[in-house]
Symmetry: C2
């Protein structure tokens, strides 16, 4: 049986109850941080020697030299040839669509020239080298390889290094095939905090990168936090969430399955349904009862729905929007007749799935937009992973002689106002140039 | 006397020596973190009561109620009326130029429709509410108010909240005037970790924000790191740096003053000069000896140059570019005849100042581009503060019936490959809709 918390916006304590139910704090375990600090220090000071020792110990990998950590081009190609053709075609179609979408995000350099000849602008450049972390073991997600790698390739990153642990020497052919399709340049069978440290500082075998992206366990997340500054990192993701708004006219079984698809990720995942139609909420609850026994991951789903799921009854779509903007969901499904009328009023969401035919899972795999999205209400201030995460900007300023006079006088006044007289005099020298 | 380290790229140990000289690690002091954790916890649980107590204790502010922490609109206007007209005009000119430049960075929403009617796109929205930290006391930098506030205003942020500590009740009129000119919506006289915690979690008096930007001391930086996730934050900046590349044809006194202008920030600031002309390096060194005694901040400058300054001799501009891209400087001055020929080969730099008339200090105040820039070699993967830091994106997907068939089949194959059967069935339901 599924027992989902049901809230009604008319309840006096609705907002505090909602906030309490949303709250999530990834607790930084001091013990984990201590272990990770030691691993990073060892990799930084001993390089390959430490990397090999950790990999032998944690992954049970029996190899003699660090050079064997690299996955050969032949092995990668063999993986691509091994997987079922239907899988390969689906991955290739997904890759094409992801690239087409992400090309729209690419930013170009620009400049403009002022009346006195002064040139101002912004030079946009890709990062030189990026590291992509891919978890190993049971949860082998080739879609994650595509979603993390392709924006970097579209940005023009010269070298993309993938790391994936291979416990007991095993690594997923689907993951390797996705790496080939995504254009990964080199791949190594390392994982955990030691892989993050190797990418951040470099070893004799592993090239040092400028940014590390991709999901991982708490050791990987802690390592990424600790090397941040030395390299760039992507967001540290919380549990995945979906918020479905339905006007009551979509098949209740479809909506039930959409909620299940989020809840099946893990016990901490959060699935929320909002509707102005209380009878529809009942129907979805009944559909869940019917469908749940047929699902492979029903235990995870039940745990997730009981601990974090919510059905919210509102009086109008206006009220629903108020709740949506408060929650700032990672995934928002607008399963309504006219989603375009609502979407411009959504201020905060990672990705918005509009209309009854747009199942959230299409976005996870092949619609085109990225599936790496801001979780835990961080869509208030952050964005999906994109090409912009692999580009960076340099400001450009080229003053004409005349421009240096106008600007120099103002800079001199302001610098003296701040007591920075060398700043002022540096500008004033150019005034004397007249 | 100034004693600056001189390197030559021809030296056998040049690269390791350069790397050693560049290295900078802001050490996270466990004691500071402990204090800051307690402050955040107190503000979170006791709100205004704790905020008032800390402000009375740390800032010696004698007020009876938290509502007195707000700086009135009259007080702000009075500051604007008080400052010298030449300062006001310079601030207004700077603000206009900063806004004009940053308008070029504003991103717009976009969508495209595929052949089968499926709509894909990206909705761009400003953040709702932003907090701006401004340090108090001696280092009152109105330019920092403009540079942090104006990109948020250009992005369309609805509410901009400034906090500035007022030790013993004192606050800089220049800072308050800059806040008025920049369009700050509300301002409070609070500072330190307690101000960051109040902005991140909100109190009865201080509104909760979505992102916090602006420079501060180690307590402020530690507090920003600790509240990250709850709110967005900007980069934690290291000491400021300049790298000047000169072909030997700029007046050595100009270059000496440009280096001084960086070194005067603080003892940890770094000023580096590269030239293919060793005689020119000597001339700049001599100019420094002549000019140094005339500078108000000569003690700071001397300490900075001795501990972190560098003169680097190269054989060609090509070699200089190699060194520049290795260093990835915050500020790069291309004081050469044809800077346009070099600039496209610069892969990493926060801001690039081109030609002999473009003193770096023009960019600090009024050229237009932002002066908040990536330090400590982070220009390899990060960008100047910009409008993009105050906008965020939501992906848009609206599948047509036909689109949901094509995408649904691929999603089903990929989801089953990953063992996520609820994902697969959610997509498959829409296939049955045919």
């Amino acid at each position: 049986m599924v027992n989902i918390t049901r809230l009604n916006i008319a309840q006096k304590d609705f907002w505090p109850r909602l906030e309490q139910r949303l709250s999530w704090e990834g607790i930084a375990d001091e013990a984990v941080i201590g272990v990770v600090r030691n691993i990073i220090h060892a990799i930084r000071t001993q390089g390959d020697t430490a990397l090999l020792a950790y990999t032998q110990r944690f992954d049970n990998l029996k190899i003699a030299s660090a050079t064997e950590l690299e996955i050969s081009a032949q092995r990668l190609q063999a993986a691509l040839a091994t997987i079922p053709i239907v899988q390969r075609e689906a991955l290739e179609m997904a890759a094409e669509r992801i690239m087409a979408y992400h090309h729209h995000q690419k930013q170009e350099s620009w400049t403009y020239t002022e009346a006195d000849g002064t040139i101002l602008g912004q030079q946009v450049r890709p990062l030189d080298r990026v590291g992509l972390y891919v978890p190993g073991g049971k949860a082998a997600y080739p879609s994650s390889v595509l979603m993390n790698a392709l924006p970097a390739k579209v940005a023009g990153v010269s070298e993309l290094i993938m790391v994936v642990p291979s416990p007991h020497g095993e690594v997923s052919d689907l993951v390797l095939a996705a790496a080939v399709i995504a254009g990964v340049d080199r791949a190594f069978t390392i994982g955990g905090a030691q892989a993050i440290a190797a990418l951040a500082f470099g070893t004799e075998t592993i090239p040092r990168v400028d940014k590390i992206v991709g999901p991982g366990n708490i050791y990987v997340a802690a390592a990424k936090s600790l090397v941040f500054g030395q390299v760039g990192i992507d967001m540290i993701a919380g549990p995945s969430e979906i918020l479905v708004l339905c006007d009551g006219e979509t098949d209740p079984e479809w909506i039930a399955m959409d909620l299940f698809s989020q809840a099946e990720h893990d016990e901490d995942a959060q699935a929320i349904l909002i509707s102005p139609d209380p009878v529809f909420l009942d129907k979805v609850a009944q559909a869940m009862v019917r469908l749940l026994p047929t699902l492979e991951r029903r235990e995870i789903i039940t745990a997730s729905l009981q601990s974090r799921g919510m059905f919210i009854e509102v009086e109008s779509l206006d009220q629903a929007l108020e709740v949506i903007n408060f929650i700032a969901p990672e995934h928002l499904e607008l399963s309504v007749k006219d989603p375009q009328a609502l979407v411009t009023r959504v201020r905060h969401a990672g990705a918005i799935f509009m209309g009854r035919y747009t199942a959230e899972s299409l976005g996870d795999y092949c619609a085109g937009p990225n599936h790496v999205l801001p979780t835990s209400r961080t869509a208030r201030f952050s964005s999906p992973l994109g090409v912009y995460d692999f580009q960076k900007r340099s400001s450009l300023i080229q003053c004409s002689l005349q421009g240096s006079q106008t600007l120099g006088r103002a800079a001199s006044v302001l610098a003296r106002g701040e007591g920075l007289t060398a700043h002022a005099r540096s500008a004033e020298y150019r005034l004397k140039a007249k």
